[in-house]
Structures are given as C-alpha cells and as structure tokens.
C-alpha cells in the first residue's frame, strides 16, 4: 500500500494556479521588451561615465595576451600595412634614411631601376615584333617564391 502525501492535493492546486500565471508573466515581459526602444535607451547611456567606472587595467590583467596573439595571423595583418604610407607619415622614414646607405646605395638604386626600365622597354618592343599574345613566364618557379626572393637577396649588400 503506497503512502499518501497529505500535501499532494495542495501542490496540484498550486500548480494549476501558478502555470497560467507564469505564462502570463512571460507574455507581459515580452510585450514590455517589444515596447522599449533599445537604441533610444543606449543613446541615453553616458558611455564615458560608464567607462570611468570600469577598471581597464584590471580587465586587461584578465586577458591572456599570448592566447589572443596565437589566434591572430600576424602575416595577414602585416600584409595589410601600407608601407609607403607608414614610411611617409611616421619617423620610420627618417630612421631608414639615416641608417641605410648614402650616395652609393642611392646611385645603385638609380642604376638598377633605370636598367629595369630599359629591359621592360626592350621586352615590350620584342613582344610586339614577334606578335606575342602571352608574355611567357615572369621568372623561374623557385626564384619567384617570396621566401626564395628573400634568400636570393641575402648578401646583396647595399642593395
């Protein structure tokens, strides 16, 4: 014979009352949220006052910078840097100018770039004379890889 719970009928009666009330409260809350303009609410928030109450240093102490950097592709980030702009608009340009070469490297750069210009001029004309539609390979496969290019220029002092 199973024992009889004396509070059972009371619980059952309570559930019958609370379940519809809970559903009603849920609907009322959703309706209230839909009535609120969140953007307008955010506009009224003083972000500066909020930030002044935040201890950024304490927040940063909790950040694992190494874990964060592990997730960043630094090469991709570096590729997006416009070196021309960087050199022109920062002190980096002055540092490079003072530390690398003088008249000699300037003369070498000039001679080489002029020779390359002449090469391209000749190549264009030969291509026209031979009526070439495709210019052919730019360079040997091994030498045009980025890593190989760095290897080739290693030891090219003053270049």
């Amino acid at each position: 014979m199973s024992p009889i719970d004396p509070l059972g009928p009371l619980r059952s009666a309570g559930r019958r009352v609370t379940d519809p009330v809970e559903a009603l409260a849920q609907q009322a809350a959703e309706h209230a949220v839909s009535l609120v303009d969140v953007n307008a609410l955010v506009e009224r928030v003083d972000i500066n006052a909020l930030l002044s109450r935040v201890d950024i240093n304490a927040l940063l102490r909790q950040v694992d910078v190494n874990a964060l950097l592990d997730r960043v592709d630094v090469n991709k980030v570096a590729e997006r840097i416009d070196m021309d702009e960087l050199v022109e608009h920062t002190d980096l340009g002055a540092i490079i100018a003072r530390s690398s070469g003088g008249m000699a490297s300037e003369a070498l750069d000039a001679a080489r770039s002029q020779a390359v210009g002449l090469d391209q001029f000749i190549n264009r004309w030969v291509g026209r004379l031979l009526r070439r539609k495709h210019p052919g390979p730019a360079g040997p496969a091994e030498a045009t890889r980025p890593a190989a290019s760095r290897e080739l220029t290693r030891g090219q002092a003053g270049s």
């Binding site: 021309d84 490079i96 750069d109 770039s113 090469d119 390979p137 360079g139 040997p140 220029t153 090219q156």
Partner: protein, 183 residues
C-alpha cells in the same frame, strides 16, 4: 643628389628573368673592370721585371699573342670563379642580377664553370648565341642553355623603395615624382 624614380611596380620584379639591357650593362662593366685589373697587373709585372733585371721590356707581336692567351685565361677565371662562387660578377652585383639554375634554385659551382667555358660560343656567328636573351621567353643565351642556367633580378627592390620613400619623406618629392611613384 641623384634624382630618380622608383615606382611601386619594381618591387614585384624580384626573382624574375633579367632583361637584355641589365645583362649587357653588367657585362660591359665586367669587361672594363677585368681589363683594367689585367692591364694594371701586366704593368705592375713589367715594372717589377724591369726593376729586378734592369732591362726594359718591349711587347712584340709574339708576346702579344701570349698576352692574349693569358688575357683569355684571366677572363675565364674572372667570370668562372665569380659565377661558381656567388652566381654574380662585379658588374652583375652593380646591376642587381644573378645567375641561378634554370628552375630558379641556386646554381651549383660546376654550372658556373661550365657557363664560363660555354660563354665564348655565344660570340660565334656575330653573337647569335645572345639572341636568346632578346627573343627567348626565359631570356636564356646559348651559354645559359648549355649550362642550364638563367639570369634573374636579385636586388632587394623593396628595401630600395623604402629608402626612396624615406629620402622623399625627409626632403620632399622632386617635381613630377609624385605621379610616377604610384605607378
């Protein structure tokens, strides 16, 4: 100050086949340097012999032939050793070009020596062996084909462009350079 332009497009030329002008200028420079060194060496040798023996030396037709043979041997050493040791001669260094294997890998020393041995063949038939530099897609001359080599741009154009921009940032662009830079 030398005013020149270093357009952005040059940066991407690294590792590409070098053209006829760069190669010819490099060779002309090498010829001047190697001949000057040889002449100085002969003059120094003559001076030493004259000082030691107290007899003046006169170069006759016969000695001219001997000198020519020694000169050719010196030329072979100058080019062969440079290509075998580093893939570039002095002139090639100045023009920023380099000899590599036909597939672009670093050339083995024996290829440099073979290239130097085959080099005179390109002069035969009015320099027909050099035509490949102009018309061939890989810009290979006869001696390149024999040695299995190619000549590429090896100068650090990126660093050169940074130097150019840095100088410009310090001194300000020369007239007309602003547009050329962006090309």
């Amino acid at each position: 100050m030398i005013v020149h332009q270093l357009p952005r497009r040059l940066v991407s030329l690294q590792g590409q086949y070098a053209g006829a002008a760069s190669r010819f200028l490099a060779y002309a420079l090498d010829l001047v340097v190697s001949t000057a060194v040889f002449t100085l060496a002969v003059a120094a040798l003559s001076f030493v012999i004259e000082t030691v023996t107290r007899h003046s030396i006169t170069w006759t037709a016969g000695s001219g032939a001997a000198t020519a043979v020694v000169f050719l041997a010196w030329q072979f050493f100058y080019f062969g050793y440079s290509w075998a040791a580093s893939g570039k001669t002095f002139g090639m260094y100045i023009l920023g070009i380099r000899v590599v294997r036909a597939d672009g890998a670093t050339a083995e020393p024996w290829r440099g020596i073979l290239r130097a041995l085959a080099f005179p063949l390109s002069f035969l038939l009015l320099g027909l062996g050099f035509i490949g530099i102009l018309v061939q897609r890989e810009h290979q001359a006869l001696h390149d084909l024999i040695a299995g080599t190619a000549v590429i741009y090896a100068w650090d154009a990126r660093a050169a462009r940074l130097r150019f921009l840095a100088r410009e940032a310090e001194t300000g662009p020369a007239p007309g350079q602003r547009q050329a830079r962006a090309r």
